[in-house]
Symmetry: C2
Subunit: 289 residues, 2 copies
Amino acid sequence: MAEAVYHVDGELVPANEATVSVRDRGFMYGDAAFETLRVYGGTPFRWTAHADRLERTCETLGFAGAVPPATELRARVDETLAANDMTDAYLKLSVTRGVQPGKLTPDAAVDPTVVVMVSDLPRAGSEGERVWDGPAQLRTVDTERVSDTALPSGAKTHNYLNGILARLELRETGADEAVLCSAAGTLTEGAASNLFFVQEDTLRTPTAELPLLPGVTREVVLECARDLGVPVETGRYRLSALESATELFVTNSTWEVRPVTGVDGDEFAVGPVTNRLQRAFDERVERLY
Amino acid sequence: MAEAVYHVDGELVPANEATVSVRDRGFMYGDAAFETLRVYGGTPFRWTAHADRLERTCETLGFAGAVPPATELRARVDETLAANDMTDAYLKLSVTRGVQPGKLTPDAAVDPTVVVMVSDLPRAGSEGERVWDGPAQLRTVDTERVSDTALPSGAKTHNYLNGILARLELRETGADEAVLCSAAGTLTEGAASNLFFVQEDTLRTPTAELPLLPGVTREVVLECARDLGVPVETGRYRLSALESATELFVTNSTWEVRPVTGVDGDEFAVGPVTNRLQRAFDERVERLY
């Protein structure tokens, strides 16, 4: 496969020449917003939801006014896909506060750096292969979820060490994803995914009032559940709630709906609600082909 | 002044051509350690303390084994200073986890990216000018300090949004530095500085057991206080403790010892303990000329 072409600061460049200044605040401080999304049959899945969240993150960071409008960002995404002749892809779109004078306090004048990174990722509708080899194994970790009062939880930023430290705790455990709790001991989310479980035939997921990033895929799954008539509850749950769960799965744009068959060594089967939600998700993907 | 030369990934490059890959984890996730330090008379001040903390940060991030030894990092620092013909400078040394396959979970094989950035900053011993125009004005902010259980507080990383959000709260207030409290309401530190105050002739500063980054300058000030026979207490203080403080100052490598003359509108005078500590600090700087 030929090397991909990325879109950096308004230009298409070969991936191995795609760089940002070491003075870019995205590099120096992780002072940047991003979205990762899947492209199915040439169409970025749930583009509007991703573009809206990107804008909200930039608002939280105080530079939304300087960010190109969503139509302009979409044009860069489409240009990148066309340049790579890609119809099924994994795509990451980042917007940083750009290069500024060497001070921690952000300057009001922002010339953002916009980066689009892509890689080929076949899916081809409901017949398509999934990115994971098998169901996920989860493990709870000591790393606690950063509180909303320290970093607004709904913002998807380049400050990702909290999730990385959680993932580092999984080394040599064989687990795929970490389960993070809040300081109060409430289940929040995975390092890079949202968590769902089925209990007494109800689909439950931690409420977005908790410190967690409510994913775009999480929203699609909640929509699928409503369509299917599956009762849904968002709430506050302790880890012990999983003991009486009959099904478990995690979601993100890359994994879509990924069943979980183990948490800290406790085993779970892949159940009927998970399967129905996967099929409903697949149907939404299929429409794009 | 000629454009500075930086040191990136083993090479000296003009600052405006100094870049990192957009796939570098330092850019994507802020997955990197850094130190900022002052160079006085050609010597990086408290090099060993900075090099040690950089190593501890990389240990926390799980890639200390891949980082060049301190002697090699020092060689790059010295090479950068020589290339710029600088003897008095502000210097930032960063080590990232480098470029890795596109996954959040870090790969065990690390080829770190090392970046040295410098800018001219005259000081010239005890007669030298300070970087700030006047004493600092502080303001307490709603943004809470990230807890140690979410991100180990002693690690100085490129995840700096917590401090940036705190500084954003200062916009249009005229304040220079934000005061962050822990979730429990305990005074911790500034967005980029440590906090000291004098009360009943004792120099007090929040204990390093709290979520704060114990700065190298903080340590120098504590050392100066011991030398001068000033009683020192590290502890847990609430914001209200400042009401009965007679002196206040903030410290970091750039500001050194910077007096504070206002907190949320309450005024403070620059007092004798602050002045003595500044002189003792100056003497340590003077020895390098």
